[in-house]
Amino acid sequence: MGISVEGAYKKFGDFQALEDVSIEVPDGSLTALLGPSGSGKSTLLRAIAGLETLDKGRVEINGADATSRPPQKREVGFVFQHYAAFKHMTVFDNVAFGLKIRKWTKPQVSERVHDLLRLVQLDGLADRYPSQLSGGQRQRMALARALAVEPQVLLLDEPFGALDAKVRKDLRTWLRRLHDEVHVTTIFVTHDQEEAMDVAEQLVVMNEGRVEQSGAASDLYEHPANEFVMSFVGEVNRLGDHFVRPHDMEVLQHPADRTAEAMVERIVQLGFEIRVEFSLSDGGEIWAQLTRGELDEIELREGQIVYVRPRETKVFSGEPEIPAAA
């Protein structure tokens, strides 16, 4: 049950968008497809919706083969990054669209639409046009429209990508709560690892058309399968062959076992959290994430020579492959 994709391939011209991609999404779960732009995550989502046809591979929705079914027959709800609101229709008519296509009677449509508008907190705005709504409201309307037809799965393509930071955060929390209420199998695409970990139970990390790793968010953070996952799911420093999270850096005033000499280049105060940037004697650059308490304890200032060592590191075999900061 849920959604399963097996051995999916898709090429756009010379660009291999998907290469042997297989994922399993448990029934009723909330899963994030995470990856940099061009990693194939949106293509995979669109292939599940039937908006792209795969060159090869198989898509199953709730146990039934959906590979050759058109989008109309897949019973998916799809939410686009730029809302795809029907601009010439009111909020009510937007949400009612799928129901009218299914020939529901007027009273049925009206009841369902108003229920949904309450659910997405847009009751009272039924007669507005999309152009009279804020971005966040438009996206909630798009979500209500997708949910109206009671889809088997809900697919969201960078749903918060076009919104500003504050609205993004609110909608994240709100989507999480909505999922607890509606319990429809949901996949959402994002390039923001914080957003993915905040909202989703399950993560699928994609890169260059392939799945790098999938699993629970905490698993991926604690046990990344490779450098790409480690550096994409959270921040990372590199010390030779070792990879270390900035909050696993220890900063000492005096040399000790396994320490490296480093000069404090910059101290950035980000509220409670302090970001300290060092340059190493071999020319490398690393940074540590400290708390205010830790900083006060060691009394760092810029230009000072200190000694750093990792509390915990990871070594990956195989070709090193580090993406630019995500």
């Binding site: 109309q72 799809f78 037809v149």
Partner: protein, 268 residues
Amino acid sequence: MTGSSTASRWSLRFLALGYLTILLLAPLVMIFVKTFQDGIGPPIDAITSPDGLAALKLSLITVAVAVPLNTVFGVGCALLLVRHRTRLNWLIDGVINLPFAISPIVIGLSLYLLYGTTGWFGPTLGDAGIKILFSTPGIILACVFVSLPFVVREVVPVLQEIGTEQEQAASTLGASSWQTFWRVTLPAIRWGVAYGVVLTTARVLGEFGAVTIVSGSISGQTQTLPLFVSKEFEQFNLPGAYGASILLAMLALTTLLLMNLLKRKDDA
């Protein structure tokens, strides 16, 4: 600084207005003045003469057939060009512009040759009892030809601008292509279509060159309003020529006003 820029702005406005006045407004005003210099009687008499009324009727029939034809074709063609990219699109795109590039009189001549007694289609159609040249079908054909690109050219950029996401959203909500077209695409492009229709109507009403050749300009039978104007002018019946001209201008203006009224109602 501000002074000189204000001065240049005013001189620019003056230039633009002056240019428009001399080139466009003066001739139109002149026609109005000339038409009514001997009162309202002579022009009315000319238009309500049997030949005048026949010309008006024929012009309206031509609009009633040619405009819907080109609207349906134009929207379909724009959808093909924008939504279904094929290898032949560049060719279709180019061919659609032909009526813009070719002089109407050449279009008239080519139709004359094709449907004439020695043309490719003429003899066959003639045997079947269908008369194209020197009758209404020929006039409509010529008008369809010359006004073909307007709807396509107006709708293509609008289709490109609205993108495909609304249509994709409709399809995931269960709408068939046909339902998506009627409920999502067409409402989204309606003003592009409307502008195309207005331009097509104006062109069909005013078409002279191509229609002259294929119609034979028989008074009371195959004369459209522009041909009627021309004939009256040649016969020195100036009030008739002016009156019919004014009528033509009014018809075009009415379409334009009608669309603006609809648009205002829609925006409100």
